[in-house]
């Protein structure tokens, strides 16, 4: 088997790749559903219904998409500059920790001041967390895939330590959870009676801002140039290492917003199950969107829909909701293959 380069794909082809990846995912998932003894059609119907079949379902999906948009943006920004940030999970938790530290009564301020302050602090913490691996990469050539991935475990254990120690809620009946945020630190709901909160609006605004940065600014230009051809970028005078630092700050800050919005908008406190792997799912979201910031919104809603829909489906059919994890993982792998096929023709011998 051999790969031969092929000319650039057209716009239609570019849109076909994610669609093709999703079709393949559905076919593959059908086989698993058959193994579980159910009909794929009814299962997919139930997933779709559970994800978007009612106002409640739709709002649940958007709620679930919110952290995925943030982590997806974080990954898209970093990957565009070829900074392989696998540590959005850690940055998310650091953002959540900062939110809890500042939002549980330490700062008696009105919402209008408190929330922006927490946002800035959380973003700074996430940004600084990714700055370390970025520095190690540019100074010493340490692979950031390894450092950011391992930081996920370090940070999660660190959070666990905090929740068993200084941040532990004295009224929490011994559970490892933090105190509740004060009301001033909570993001308001968008519709009363639904869980969807203003974090979703922040996510949409962030996506637009990131899109503007990538498309319209010199920084975005530098990031794309450095990611596309670092040597060429250096040759024309783009300070590639400094650009990578800025990329790291932006990416880490965006991922930390996921943690902030989950705590402040949804949960109200910090527990160890705050994120069921939103940091990792962000990679899927960004890849499905082919690193386009606006595409991230669409793919985050799609991935969230699978998770939410699969939960609803498993309640009524007995097919385990883990099918959602399989589908999301399959979607990632088939997307990676699709991107490969976009650039190369495969010759079998």
């Amino acid at each position: 088997m051999r790969l031969e380069p092929k000319p650039a794909p057209s716009l239609v082809m570019l849109l076909l790749y994610p669609v093709g990846a999703i079709v393949f995912t559905l076919v593959f998932a059908s086989l698993l559903v058959l193994l579980a003894g159910a009909s794929p059609f009814s299962v997919f119907f139930l997933v779709a219904k559970g994800a978007a079949g009612s106002q409640f379902a739709l709002f649940e999906t958007l709620t679930r998409a919110t952290p995925l948009i943030f982590t997806g943006l974080a990954v898209a920004v970093a990957f565009r500059a070829k900074l392989w940030n696998i540590g959005a999970e850690a940055q998310l938790y650091i953002g959540a920790v900062v939110t809890v530290v500042l939002g549980t009564g330490a700062l008696p301020l009105p919402s209008i001041l408190l929330i922006p302050l927490i946002v800035i602090a959380a973003m700074t913490a996430g940004a600084l967390l990714l700055l370390g691996p970025a520095l190690l990469k540019t100074r010493f050539g340490v692979d950031e895939v390894v450092t950011t991935l391992l930081l996920n475990f370090i940070v999660l254990l660190f959070v666990s330590m905090l929740l068993e120690g200084v941040l532990k809620d004295p009224m929490g009946l011994g559970w490892p959870q933090s105190q509740k945020l004060i009301a001033e630190a909570r993001l308001p709901r968008i519709v009363t009676g639904r869980r969807l909160h203003c974090g979703f609006g922040m996510a949409l605004v962030s996506a637009v801002i990131v899109w503007v940065i990538m498309k319209k600014t010199t920084l975005g230009y530098e990031m794309r140039a450095a990611g596309n051809n670092a040597e060429g970028a250096r040759f024309v005078g783009i300070p590639v290492n400094r650009v990578l630092m800025k990329t790291a700050l932006l990416s880490g800050g965006l991922a930390a917003l996921a943690g902030f919005s989950e705590v402040s908008g949804l949960k109200g406190n910090l527990t160890l199950d705050l994120s069921p792997g939103y940091g990792y799912s962000g990679i899927v979201v960004a890849m499905l969107a082919m690193l386009n910031p606006l595409g991230v919104v669409v793919s985050a809603i799609f991935v969230a829909g699978i998770f939410v829909g699969a939960d609803a489906m498993s309640r009524s059919t007995g097919v385990p909701s883990y099918i959602a994890d399989v589908m999301v993982a399959t979607a990632l792998l088939s997307m990676v293959v699709a991107i490969l096929l976009a650039r190369f023709r495969v010759r079998w011998r």
Partner: protein, 501 residues
């Protein structure tokens, strides 16, 4: 007797037809030269012949047997040996180990080193391929490495030898030696296909010439019945005009290096180099690649700082050196590798032409890029330099080498630079594009810029340069005026013999 027959070979890459129904035969004891511009399809054809690519149509027949497609092993076994342009040797191993690599059976406990050595010594004696079998490849010169590659093919009992641009990396002396070896090989009944775009070599070394243009076989001549003029016309499809050079009007020294040394960059670093570039002059830097050209180019580009010595541009010495500083001093840079360095392949033409000035007031305000101005600039270069492209939004890697180089040139020459570094500016371009690049460089010379032309093509250097300097092992020779030194003298300097600066 026909040893090799290609019938109707066609190979397409998307819309591009790299080889269009090419057929020819190679006879025993014959040297065929495959002549054509870069991009004419020579290398694709040889890759099909050797089994690296699948042809879309056609077949290859060696010694009367059809070769299975896409199987380099079958080609090897049929007695076809290939010497690639970029050598495929393991640096840390000895010459003998490299030659025998892959020929020894795996299951025999001992290697028959003594036998192998004997055979290698005999082969190198018979064909004038002097090289020590015990030497580590890393310690060999480029010419010696090429001999090892040829020995490797002969050791495997190749009866057909394909040489891809074998002289690109050799000094004139080494080239002569290679041609002697080729004569000895054909005398022993081997057949040779020799790929080149250099006319004088084709005339000197071949029996028959096949000319490829745009993927088609456009001409076939017996070398004895043709001349360089006819071949050049076939190769480009039009008469070739030599660049018209007006008498030199030297101006003030615009770039002065004094005792400059650098780190190693893709070969030798600079070693106490002193060099003066004057306005209104083209200074040609001749030399075998890897002798410090890359270091000098990197120094002028701003990507490498001097470790010793001083550099002054337009009278003022440089202190804080970087690509931005070089641009700020008015140095235009045309890098050697336009794909890996000169352009950012997956970005558009517009995004590429503003790469050196995207943060200037012309193209950005408050950190936002003025895409309208950028697009206007791209359109201007496309128009002024006659770049063939669908639109300024086209990704630059989809363009041909010539069009890409025009954009790089347009970007570099736009700010009216004082000093121009042109590193291999015409490598791989078709004749039309070469003439165009030369004309633009001469235009800049008329305007009074100081130009440093780095090229492996001695003919190009001699045609354009008012002053010629030879670089060898990181040191430069004394400059000579146009016509002062003969090709032979320059060759001696390139080989590292001769007076120091």
């Amino acid at each position: 007797m026909t040893v090799l027959r290609l019938s109707g070979i066609t190979k397409r890459f998307g819309p591009l037809v790299a080889n269009d129904a090419i057929s020819f035969e190679l006879k025993r004891g014959e040297v065929i030269a495959l002549l054509g511009e870069n991009g004419a399809g020579k290398t694709t054809l040889m890759n099909i012949l050797f089994g690296h690519y699948f042809p879309d149509e056609g077949s290859v027949e060696a010694f009367g047997k059809v070769l299975p497609q896409g199987d380099p092993r079958a080609a090897l076994e049929a007695g076809i040996g290939m010497v690639h342009q970029h050598f495929t040797l393991a640096d840390q191993m000895t010459v003998q180990e490299n030659i025998t690599l892959g020929t020894e059976p795996l299951w025999r406990p001992t290697l028959s080193r003594a036998n192998a050595r004997e055979r290698i010594v005999a082969l190198s004696r018979d064909f004038g391929l002097t090289v020590d079998p015990g030497a580590a490849v890393a310690s060999l010169s480029v010419g010696e490495r090429q001999r090892v590659e040829i020995l490797k093919a002969l050791y495997r009992e190749a009866r057909i030898l394909i040489l891809d641009e074998p002289t690109a990396v050799l000094t004139p002396g080494e080239t002569d030696a290679l041609f002697k070896t080729l004569k000895l090989l054909v005398a022993k009944g081997l057949s040779i296909i020799f790929i080149s775009h250099k006319l004088h070599e084709v005339m000197a070394a071949s029996d028959r010439v096949l000319v490829l243009r745009g993927g088609k076989l456009v001409g076939e001549r017996l070398t004895a019945d043709t001349d360089r003029r006819e071949l050049a016309a076939l190769m480009v499809g039009q008469e070739v005009k030599a660049a018209d050079v007006s008498p030199v009007r030297s101006g003030a020294p615009l770039l002065v290096l004094e005792g400059v040394s650098t780190r190693r960059v893709n070969g030798a670093g600079l070693d106490a180099v002193s060099l003066t570039l004057r306005g209104g002059e083209i200074t040609g830097l001749a030399g075998v690649s890897g002798n410090g050209q890359a270091a000098l180019a990197a120094l002028l580009s701003g990507t490498e700082r001097p470790t010793a010595g001083t550099v002054a541009v337009n009278g003022s010495p440089i202190a804080d050196w970087s690509p931005k500083a070089a641009l700020g001093k008015g140095i235009a840079r045309v890098p050697e590798d336009r794909h890996a360095v000169g352009t950012i392949g997956d970005m558009s033409i517009t995004e590429n032409v503003i790469a050196e000035s995207y943060d200037s007031a012309r193209f950005s305000r408050h950190g936002f890029i003025d895409w309208k101005a950028a697009r206007g600039f791209a359109e201007q270069i496309i128009r002024d330099y006659d770049v063939k492209c669908p639109s300024p939004e086209t990704r630059i890697r989809l363009l041909s080498g010539g069009n890409m180089q025009k954009l790089v040139l347009g970007r570099a020459l736009d700010p009216d630079p004082v000093v121009i570094l042109a590193s291999q500016p015409t490598r791989g371009l078709d004749v039309g594009a070469v003439a165009y690049v030369h004309a633009r460089l001469l235009e800049a010379r008329e305007r009074g810029a100081a130009i440093l032309l780095i090229s492996e093509d001695l003919e190009e250097i001699l045609a354009l340069s008012d002053t010629v300097v030879v670089i060898s092992k990181g040191q430069v020779s004394a400059p000579s005026k146009r016509g002062e030194r003969s090709i032979r003298e320059l060759g001696e300097l390139m080989a590292g013999h001769g007076e120091a600066a």
